[in-house]
């Protein structure tokens, strides 16, 4: 890793507290609003922001985030415009920022060019849902050489793969709470404690749980088991419902969720 300080920025948020990680799709409803939402959520106590680079075919997403991807693309959001937005945000906040996107936008942009630009604008890590362990070799090297963490995803179906995946993880481990795609769920049935125990045997990397979490009660329950809680669809739904006027509602929501972590 060329820039160890920057990598530490992600781990640091878990150092003496449970972390609240917020996801939103860049460009929904506009990049100016995305910038405003990110700054408001950072002020309200979010510890890390995942910024979704919209993709035409987000196969790991449920209907809520999929619709946000479509809205963002319809208003002409591009990777370059998102980089410009991150540059503006970085002038105003030091909060760790992670991109979430699919392989194709990165590959077609050019791996080296993508990660070099991430480093330049101040992105700390990348989550790529359709890049499994078996295919990540080159991308991991590129990310590492620019000081970015390639976040490891572990799923309820990972079973015998858990330790292989965890051993390699940096930044944080994204533990997928449930089968299926992203989206709010009333109940999470996976035995998260058992998976986290498996991870702990081989890795000290913090574990954050995402997929399906929407309420402060769920956040409390999950934060008893894990180092952090990730919320996406519930935030994207607020943005979908309130559009440009979502800022105060997002701030209030993030404040309540962060307060619910124990």
């Amino acid at each position: 890793m060329s820039n160890p300080n920057k990598v530490n920025q992600i781990s640091k948020i878990f150092a003496d507290q449970k972390a609240f990680i917020a996801f939103l799709t860049a460009g929904d409803p506009s990049l100016d609003k995305t910038e405003e939402f990110i700054l408001a959520m950072a002020d309200a106590g979010a510890d890390l922001i995942e910024i979704g680079i919209p993709f035409s075919d987000p196969i790991a997403e449920g209907p809520v985030i999929e619709a946000a991807n479509e809205r963002a693309l319809q208003v002409g959001t591009t990777t370059d415009k998102i980089f410009a937005m991150v540059r503006r945000i970085r002038a105003k906040t030091a909060i760790p920022l992670v991109f979430l996107t699919y392989m194709n936008p990165i590959f077609v942009y050019g791996g080296e060019r993508f990660f070099a630009t991430c480093e330049e604008v101040g992105i700390n890590g990348v989550i790529i849902p359709d890049l499994p362990f078996e295919e990540k070799g080159e991308i991991r090297e590129l990310a590492g050489s620019h000081g970015l963490d390639l976040i490891t995803l572990i799923a309820p179906t990972s079973q015998d793969r858990i330790q292989m995946l965890a051993r390699d993880a940096t930044g944080f481990i994204y533990l997928v709470s449930s089968l299926g795609v992203t989206g709010v769920r009333s109940e999470i049935k996976t035995d998260l404690a058992a998976i986290i125990a498996d991870i702990r045997q081989v890795s000290k990397t913090p574990v954050a749980v995402g997929f399906g979490i929407a309420t402060p009660e769920q956040a409390t329950t999950i934060s008893k088991l894990a180092d952090g809680v990730i919320v996406g669809s519930a935030i994207v739904r607020i943005i979908a419902e309130h559009g440009p006027a979502a800022t105060p509602i997002l701030s209030d929501y993030v404040r309540r969720m962060k307060a619910a972590l124990v």
């Binding site: 993709f55 035409s56 075919d57 196969i59 790991a60 449920g62 209907p63 999929e66 479509e70 693309l73 591009t78 990777t79 370059d80 699919y102 392989m103 194709n104 936008p105 990165i106 590959f107 077609v108 942009y109 849902p129 359709d130 890049l131 499994p132 362990f133 078996e134 295919e135 070799g137 995803l153 572990i154 799923a155 309820p156 179906t157 990972s158 079973q159 015998d160 793969r161 995946l165 997928v176 089968l179 299926g180 795609v181």
Partner: protein, 394 residues
């Protein structure tokens, strides 16, 4: 370690949630493909149930009319369910049975793969759910009813462009939700490894038979094999056993829709670029930021923005050629074959017929072309009538 590579193409770009399911399929396939009992059981199904081997028919009138190379038609349209899709589906359904799965899910474009999957599910006692884009359920209404008749549930996909690509997205999403009892019967030589290899192997029965039939009838190999290409399963099946025969030209016909110079086409090789999507590295129709392009073809089965990784490699290595065929050319060929030989081809297969009509007159009378008639055209009659301005209700 990256698996399932064809040159630089292929791979296994799949969410972690599906990796163990895909590895399970891979291991099962590795085991059963070398198991003589499995192969015997599959051959029995293909022969007794699906009606194989399919005929290699000498199209005498078409040959005389075009005045060049002799044209043989590989009659996959005569298979049970009306297309080549049954070859792959019987293989995967049998494998799913061995794996202890009880539920099949599949995407479909024209509906032929959905019908074949629903058929195998009925035969072998699986529950079955098919995902089909809304655009396609409208233009292939007859096949939607056939699937329901066979006991399958048809989910109408309304996301994205509401065509084959979106049906694939939705089937992957469904598989992520329920992997334990469910096998995803991918319908083409695409997706993450092992699907491109497995589907190609199950479809390669087409060229295995065609090669033997040709040697028996003519005592020599053909000079060209022509097949239509969307994802590319019938073409891969028709090409595969001819790949080592270097004298045999392999020609894939892509859907050029309203023309490759318009924005309304699905000509991946002619107009696409390298990308990573639907589990594989290959060529895709996309923009400079890697957003997958909305594609168009009159043929729902070719209306797909990508192509299987082995085709991408055959293109790179120049072993196969890929040519674009427009809607107009395909519709003309649809009528031509119907009236010349009394065979109504699927509008997909008509793309291959169209190129045979261009190529045959340029060849000499002692040369031979095999055209793979991948499916029959009953499903397309109403849509072609509409294209010609007649309003037929199915």
């Amino acid at each position: 370690m990256s698996k399932g590579k064809y040159g630089i193409h292929g791979g296994q770009y799949t969410p972690e949630t599906l990796m163990n399911a895909i590895i399970e399929v891979e291991k099962a396939y590795e085991h059963y493909k070398n198991d003589p009992a499995f192969q015997d059981e599959l051959t029995e199904l293909l022969n007794e149930y699906a009606g194989r081997p399919s005929r290699l028919y000498f199209a005498k009138k078409m040959t005389a009319d075009l005045g060049g190379a002799k044209i043989y038609l590989k009659r996959e349209d005569l298979n049970h369910t009306g297309s080549h899709k049954i070859n792959n589906v019987l293989g995967q359904a049998l494998l799913a049975k061995k794996m202890g799965k009880t539920r099949l899910i599949a995407e479909t474009g024209a509906g032929q793969h959905g019908v074949a999957t629903a058929t195998a599910a009925a035969l072998m006692g699986f529950s079955c759910e098919i995902f089909m884009g809304k655009e396609d359920t409208d233009r292939q209404a007859l096949n939607v009813f056939r699937m329901r008749l066979l006991g399958a549930t048809v989910h109408v996909v309304t996301s994205g462009t509401m065509t084959l690509k979106d049906a694939v997205n939705e089937t992957f999403r469904e598989w992520t939700t329920r992997v334990d009892d469910t096998h995803y019967v991918l319908g083409s030589v695409m997706g993450p490894h092992p699907f491109p290899e497995m589907v190609r192997d199950f479809q390669s029965v087409i060229s295995k038979e065609a090669r033997e039939q040709m040697l028996q009838k003519e005592g020599k190999l053909p000079d060209a094999v022509i097949a239509c290409v969307g994802g590319g399963s019938n073409a891969m099946g028709a090409f595969y056993n001819f790949i080592p025969d270097e004298s045999v030209r392999l020609i894939g016909c892509e859907a050029a829709g309203k023309g490759v110079d318009t924005e309304e086409h699905a000509a991946t090789i002619a107009r696409g670029s390298l990308g990573i999507f639907h589990g594989m590295k290959s060529y895709f129709c996309q923009d400079e930021y890697g957003q997958i392009a909305p594609v168009y073809s009159i043929s729902a089965g070719l209306d797909y923005p990508g192509i299987g990784p082995e085709h991408a490699h055959l293109h790179d290595s120049k072993r196969a050629e890929y040519v674009p065929i427009t809607d107009d050319e395909a519709v003309a060929a649809f009528f031509y074959l119907s009236r010349t030989e009394g065979i109504i081809p699927a509008i997909e297969s008509a793309h291959a017929i169209a190129y045979a009509m261009v190529l045959a007159p340029t060849m000499s009378k002692d040369q031979i072309i095999i055209v793979n008639v991948s499916g029959r055209g009953d499903k397309d009659v109403a849509a072609i009538a509409r294209y010609k301005g007649e309003n037929i209700h199915e």
